[in-house]
Amino acid sequence: MTLINPETLKEIKTYSTKDFSVDACFNCGNCTAICPISEEGTEKGIPRTLIRYAQVGLKNKLLGNRLMWLCSYCNDCTETCPRNAEPGEFMMATRRWAMSQYEVTGIAKLLNSNPLFGIAAMGIIFLISLFLFGVFGNPTNISSERPIIIFNLVPKIVIEIIGIGIALILIAIIGLSIINMYRLISKEYDSNFIQGFEIARNTRKNDKKLNTVFHLIFSPIIMVKQAIAVIIKEIFGQYRQLQCTLEALNKRKRREFIIYRWIMHLLILWGFFGLGVATILNMLRDNFLGSIPNGYVPVTYPIRIIGIISGIALMVGVTLAGLSRYRKSLRYNEHSLTCDWIFLFNLFMIGLTGFILTASYYLTFIPAELGYWVFVLHMIFIIELVILAPFGKFAHVWYRSFALWIHYGMQAREHKLANELKREKAKIEKAKAAA
């Protein structure tokens, strides 16, 4: 049974700063024809198919479409749309909307559609963190003596317990959201898949495997292979974004340097990843090799070097992203939501406080007290980032990756099945010929 929700389009529109006129769309198909990720096949013509779903109110079909996560907003559709319907912005808003629908607590809904909620949440988290610091920390230990021993200020065990506690809650939320997303996608996919393979149904009626999408996803060899492909190609290479931007560049012959965006995104990603690696290595070293007295290491310490380089990459990337959002210089960031800004702001502040903290270790002219206070700020902004992660812009990391993973898996599976069918057909024909 198909559920129709006439409010869908109105709802999606609240997830953009702009009242884009997607109602004007008369389904000419121009956006699909020019889209670099659109493919041949049933319901693979995006963005038009998705716009149609939204206009009609087919909420579940929309939520069950994995292809929207392939789009990296090159904006070719908007630029060539004969009706100024802004399909690009529609796709962006739909992704935000879908994220808040997948998310189980409902916080994402508030954060993405209400600009004040984000700011209020930031404030509340800040105050609570400060309160926790007052309860568990020892501000009296702040002194101008060197070396700076930050764990004198907040006991390490407190940081670790709070950190792990928050992480567990968030992982649970993310996990449930992802399961939600998977449930919706597989439901829609099941019907499409079967429609697309009528022959398969006729020739292999008794094969129950074919009718369950679980078999498809949990075909382990395929999925592991595809997971590796996604991680290498899509996450660390941002391959699809590069392809889209290159194609857009080639097609439109624009002066605008849109590869800039790809580099910017990679810098943030690699910077963030590098900092994560440095943190984890540090933890592992502390726990297995014994901690270094006072936590002081020289600048040339390998983990420290990884941290500094990653920090620089992150800061450069975030600054570039912030500037282009502020100037609206790139087509895709003309309409920034508050939660976009909150994400960038948190990253920027974490990077900045991290740098000041590192500098205060090694540069003696920086007062040691400043180092302590900056550390407090650093921790608070990390808490902000982590707590808002499952709900805000950060969430695209796993939703997009997961959708890509499913997409890759489905593609591989379809390919395999098509080959199987071909072989089977050939066999049957051979048998007929022999008879």
Binding site: F26, N27, C28, G29, N30, C31, T32, A33, I34, C35, S38, E39, E40, G41, T42, E43, K44, G45, R48, T49, E79, T80, C81, P82, R83, N84, K251, R252, K253
Partner: protein
């Protein structure tokens, strides 16, 4: 100074119709056109919808009767530069007669100069698919049959001067400024096609085998440049042809949101003509909607479908060229069928271009224009040919996109409106003459308010 009852600016089918209707009533008309021949765009067409009459067979008699009418004076290669209004309300119009470098009174139209001229350049009339000489008569049925010399491409070899039997070549001829007086003005300045290369994704003007619809008309015309439908890149018969509807109209991305009305119908007509002359060729039309708006048009569309023309809903997003074969690959969404994006290869692509304002739609008269450049009709519903200025009437595509039927109707409508206006003026001047002039009282209101 010569005086006329009306000056008709633009000698396309609207202007010719208006001039003929007025001249038949006994008014003296001056018909001017900026091109070296009258006939406008219609004379370039192959056939017209929905009757499939031969365009030049039905235009040429009209052109000819306008040219030979005792009450019509035709000036070609001539533009209005400025005007001022007389006290009596008539228009004093300054025109520039551009130099043809050929003496109009001596030239007998024998085309000896054209045959002898060694310079070949792309022909405007053939939409650059064919060639013309540097000294030329614009096309076979041009009126007047007087040559003109294109100074930009002339190599000054003097051949034309040597071969001319009438000694008509005049290299020293200058542009000539003329002033005339006219009681009224009819603007029939027509349209231009939207630019071929406007949408960069379609590669119009870049790929040889992406041509405009008017070029396709020339390919289909019996007196066309290739004497048949051939594609420009290799002069071969294209085995499949795609039409891109709504190219340059109803498209906000090129800032032209209005419907050009005629493109659907001429596309259907061209597709039918291709199916008629080359039955093995496949013709596919990619459309957003088919707007068959006029009398007999829907039936025309159904006939085309029955003939085997394929109509596919879906706007063409992008056209790429195969550099080896010069075939074109179209990206479209397969809306009606299995769905998704597909790529289809064609040997020739015709962009069904829309209509936009002419190069000088108002003929340098300060009538109000719409946002899209066409002349404004203040009384659009009940008096569509009236403009914002008294004594100036407009007709045809200068007012907005329309087909030939409507253009001719408007030409006649403009004639009767002008005739009414002229009659009223005659009466008015007669009554003024009998009463004597009435003194003007201008400052009554202002003096009252001061007190």
């Amino acid at each position: 100074m010569e005086t006329y009852d009306s000056i008709v600016i633009g000698a396309g089918i609207a202007g010719i119709q208006a001039a003929l209707d007025l001249a038949d009533q006994g008014y003296k008309i001056l018909l001017v056109d900026k091109e070296p021949s009258i006939g406008g765009k219609m004379i370039q067409l192959s056939k017209v919808f929905p009757t499939l009459d031969c365009a030049s067979c039905i235009t040429t008699p009209k052109m000819s009767s306008a040219a030979h009418h005792e009450n019509i004076t035709v000036w070609t290669y001539c533009e209005v530069t400025n005007y001022h209004e007389n006290e009596s309300g008539s228009f004093q119009v300054n025109l520039i007669k551009k130099a043809r470098l050929v003496n109009e009174n001596k030239c007998i139209g024998c085309r000896q100069c054209e045959f002898a001229c060694p310079v070949e350049v792309p022909s405007e009339f053939e939409m650059a698919l064919g060639a013309r000489k540097a000294i030329y008569i614009p096309f076979q049925t041009a009126i007047p049959q007087i040559a003109l010399l294109d100074l930009e491409n002339c190599i000054a070899c003097g051949t034309c001067h040597r071969v001319c039997p009438a000694d008509a070549i005049d290299y020293l001829q200058q542009d000539q400024n003329v002033e005339i007086e006219a009681e009224s003005v009819i603007l029939a300045t027509g349209y231009e096609l939207t630019p071929l290369g406007e949408k960069a994704e379609w590669g119009g003007g870049k790929y040889l085998n992406v041509i405009s619809s008017l070029a396709a008309e020339r390919l289909l015309a019996p007196n066309g440049p290739y004497l048949g439908v051939r594609r420009p890149s290799d002069n071969q018969i294209p085995m499949n042809i795609a039409y891109v509807h709504c190219a340059g109209s109803r498209d906000a991305s090129v800032d032209r949101t209005y419907c050009s009305r005629i493109c659907c119908m001429y596309t259907i007509k061209q597709a039918m003509l291709i199916m008629g002359s080359l039955p093995i060729v496949g013709v596919t039309c990619y459309y957003m909607d088919i707007r068959a708006f006029g009398k007999g048009y829907e039936q025309f569309y159904q006939n085309a479908k029955a003939m085997g023309v394929e109509f596919v809903k879906g706007k063409v997003g992008e056209i790429r060229e195969n550099p080896k074969t010069h075939n074109l690959i179209l990206s479209i969404e397969n809306i009606g069928d299995s769905g998704g994006k597909i790529e289809v290869e064609y040997e020739l692509v015709v962009l069904s271009l829309g209509l936009t304002q002419g190069s000088c739609p108002t003929g340098n008269f300060p009538v109000k224009q719409d946002k899209d450049g066409f002349i404004q009709s203040p009384k659009l519903k009940l008096d569509p040919v009236i403009t914002s200025m008294e004594g100036i009437i407009a007709a045809g595509t200068a007012l907005g996109p329309k087909d030939i039927v409507d253009t001719i109707v408007e030409g006649s409508a403009a004639a009767i409106k002008t005739s009414n206006y002229l009659k009223a003026r005659q009466k008015e001047s007669a009554s003024i003459l009998s009463l004597g002039s009435i003194p003007k009282i201008d400052n009554v209101e202002t003096s009252n308010s001061e007190e």
